[in-house]
């Protein structure tokens, strides 16, 4: 009489374990580490013209956990001198999952003294934000941050 209860317990544990693994799987599939949707890639391509974008110099300050995606404070600064012969020419900010990949372009020059801009943006989903700086020597530098958004912006019903 020992055998039947034991095997059903084993079956139950096996099933429960399988269900747990299945439940965990979608999380892995939905959030791949380095997925860059085509729209984001082509928007970046439009700015860089295919030039190599190196990581560094750029600092993207944005809260990692956002409660309300309708207004998210963001600051981009570039650790680079702003001299007439060597300066930051522009800063471009992109997103991964809003309806449009562009957020804003900021055009700067040596008279700005400091390559830093702030704005408030909208995020329609948890996603990656990318900031790219173009220097006067034609090189591109970037930084990216993953942001988790609790309340999404842009696409919800109005009135």
């Amino acid at each position: 009489m020992q055998q039947p209860p034991n095997s059903s317990r084993r079956q139950f544990l096996g099933l429960a374990g399988g269900a747990a693994v299945l439940g965990a799987l979608p999380v892995v599939i939905v959030r791949p580490a380095e997925a860059t949707p085509a729209m984001l890639a082509s928007a970046i391509q439009n700015v860089t013209g295919g030039a190599t974008v190196r990581t560094g110099k750029v600092k993207l300050d944005i809260p990692p956990l956002v409660e309300n995606g309708n207004t998210v404070p963001m600051t981009v600064s570039v650790a680079h001198p702003m001299a007439p012969e060597d300066h930051v020419r522009s800063i471009h900010v992109f997103n991964e999952k809003n309806p449009q990949p562009n957020i804003a372009n900021f055009h700067l020059g040596p008279h700005n003294g400091r390559a830093q801009v702030s704005a408030r943006i909208r995020l329609a989903d948890s996603q990656k934000i990318v900031a790219i700086a173009k220097l006067s020597d034609g090189s591109f530098w970037s930084a990216s941050v993953d942001v988790v958004v609790t309340l999404a912006a842009c696409t919800e019903e109005v009135i």
Partner: protein, 106 residues
Amino acid sequence: MASAMINVPAKARRGDIIEIKTLMSHIMEPGYRHKASGEVVPRDIITSFTCRFNGNEIFRADLFPAVAANPFITFFTTATESGKFEFEWIGDKGFSETASASISVE
């Protein structure tokens, strides 16, 4: 009615790097939202912001629907001489607003 808020220091020393803060009240309707009836609310955003100092452009931004309502933009500039900052916002549906602020540089 559109209204702007500008924060520029009234005085600065020559060579100081000063921060300029600007806010323009605007709905920034992204054009992706639906009414209850199902029709899309048409886009109505500010597309361009420009700052000029004594007539020369010192800062410009292209804005997209991903910029939050009432665009709040801050940036920096080096104080070189006394003069006037002029700010201009241009957008959909013929939106056009200007504002200005003066600075005295010692």
